[in-house]
């Protein structure tokens, strides 16, 4: 089954594009299990990011994606789960 993989690099690219990046945070570091709040992203930044992911990957994320998935690892997994489901 061909899989379109969504990686943490894709996530940080889209986060930066849609919401900018906190100058005090190194997004290229080990951030997989860091809460988005600590990375400088509030819920609206994540809402914007989810919108950009949906458009780029042609998927629809659940409304509670932003509140349910509080770390990059959880978000990447949620997006990949949706990508698998739609293939």
């Amino acid at each position: 089954m061909p899989e379109q993989r969504f990686t943490v690099d894709d996530l940080t690219r889209i986060l930066t594009e849609g919401a900018g990046a906190d100058e005090t945070v190194d997004l290229s570091g080990d951030i997989l299990d860091t809460d988005f709040e600590e990375l400088g992203y509030e819920s609206l930044a994540l809402l914007e990011t989810c919108g950009l992911i949906e458009r780029e990957y042609g998927i629809t994320l659940d409304d509670d994606t932003v509140t349910e998935h509080r770390t990059p690892r959880a978000m990447v997994e949620a997006v990949n789960a949706r990508l698998s489901a739609t293939v």
Partner: protein
């Protein structure tokens, strides 16, 4: 003029910091350097192609690069007016040597004025909505267009949780915001950032202003906005304004701050219904402000005029000034002739300019205008006028009947 007014023991409120951003100068130093010598900055609109519109001139801010002043997190979520306002707030705090971290969060508030909110941001998102669909609309549209957004973003950036809000009464709002800040300081909040920055030079903002019916369609930048001139035919819009640090005078002294001057008096009125035949409210607003400050007409050293550039409104304002001070009885100036009318940003910038005039002892000129001598105004024309300035009256009118006046007074 009411006489025998007793000044009550209300706490003094002073301005300790100025952050100015105007078409002829970004930052207080550059703005004053340009304004004191009458440097014009009205030109053909460059932020969009104005060819299809009847009005094509504006006072545009050039040389402001938001990324030089703001973190990248703020850029996707801010309209141009908010970016300029955030930078101006930083400059004002630096000028006041007021470090927000040294105050309790609830000891600081933000009260700005706005005429239109974030027009350009809103326009871009509406364009995406109708051309690409709702999925393409930024989540930040939820607040980035909103009237109160400058207050909100300044509050968040500087950790200010005291009394905050926004006043919307067009150009008069710029003074109404300062008055509301003074009210809150007198109720016990030591420091409030106040003033206004507006930046509606985009097609949507343009058609909204055209609908007001007061934009000049004259093509010559030196003849398009000529208040009190027999050829006055409307105004040129501009962008910018000023953010001021306002403080309780005693608290300012305690922390060793220097004050430009005091917001000594304020008055606001609303015009009677059109066709009622009753007198417009501007005169009463000026009288209220002077009474509130406890100053008599002969104590006012300069008037910063609203300068509508519409013959009937110019006549009304000239009658108010000559009625209060006598024919050619007080120097009058309108530095906004250099830069256009900045919506609600205009009056806080005039207050800043009045304070800088007090500081230097120099009244900046009114440019471009050749006033009708029959109006009886002593307009400071073409060249700055050295003068001992201690007390200034600033007038502002908003579309739809708003009149506001402020008296600022130098500290001794």
């Amino acid at each position: 003029m009411t006489t025998g007014v007793t000044t009550s023991a209300k706490p003094k409120v002073v301005v300790t910091g100025i952050g100015a951003a105007a078409p002829n100068g970004v930052g207080t130093h550059d703005y004053w350097s340009a304004t004191r010598v009458g440097r014009n900055a009205i030109g053909r609109v460059t932020r969009f192609d104005p060819t299809p519109y009847p009005a094509r001139l504006a006072g545009e801010i050039t040389g402001f690069t938001a990324a030089d002043h703001l973190p990248s997190r703020l850029l996707p979520q801010t309209d141009r007016m908010t970016r300029i306002a955030l930078a101006a707030a930083d400059w004002a705090l630096t000028d006041a040597k007021a470090d927000p971290a040294s105050f309790d969060a609830y000891e600081m508030g933000v009260i700005t004025a706005s005429s239109s909110g974030g027009f350009e941001f809103g326009q871009n998102e509406l364009r995406k909505l109708w051309s690409m669909g709702s999925q393409h609309v930024s989540a930040y549209q939820s607040f980035a267009w909103f009237y109160a957004v400058n207050s909100g973003q300044i509050s968040i950036r500087n950790g200010m949780k005291g009394p905050s809000g926004v006043v919307v009464s067009d150009q008069a709002g710029g003074l109404d915001a300062l008055a509301q800040a003074r009210r809150q300081i007198r109720k016990g909040t030591p420091l409030i950032l106040s003033g206004s920055i507006d930046a509606p030079i985009c097609p949507w903002g343009w058609v909204a202003q055209l609908a007001g019916g007061r934009l000049s369609t004259v093509e010559d930048p030196e003849r398009a906005f000529v208040p009190f001139d027999p050829d006055a035919a409307g105004h040129v819009p501009g962008e910018g304004g000023a953010i001021l640090v306002m403080e309780d005078a005693e608290r300012a002294v305690e922390r060793g701050a220097r004050a430009y001057g005091e917001l000594a008096g304020y008055g606001a009125t609303f015009d009677p219904a059109p066709g009622s035949g009753r007198e417009p409210g501007l005169r009463r607003a000026a009288e209220l402000a002077m009474a509130d400050a406890g100053v008599a007409a002969d104590e006012v050293d300069v008037v910063f005029a609203d300068a509508a550039g519409v013959p009937e409104l110019d006549r009304v304002e000239a009658e108010v000034i000559t009625g209060l001070f006598g024919p050619r009885g007080v120097p009058v100036t309108a530095p906004k002739t250099m830069i256009g009318r900045l919506c609600s940003g205009a009056a806080p910038l005039d207050v800043a300019t009045a304070l800088l005039a007090i500081e230097e002892g120099l009244i900046p000129p009114t440019t471009n205008t050749s006033p009708d001598p029959g109006l009886g105004l002593d307009l400071v024309l073409h060249q700055p006028r050295p003068a001992s300035v201690r007390t200034a009256l600033v007038l502002a009118r908003g579309h739809g009947g708003f009149n506001s006046a402020v008296v600022v007074r130098g500290t001794d």
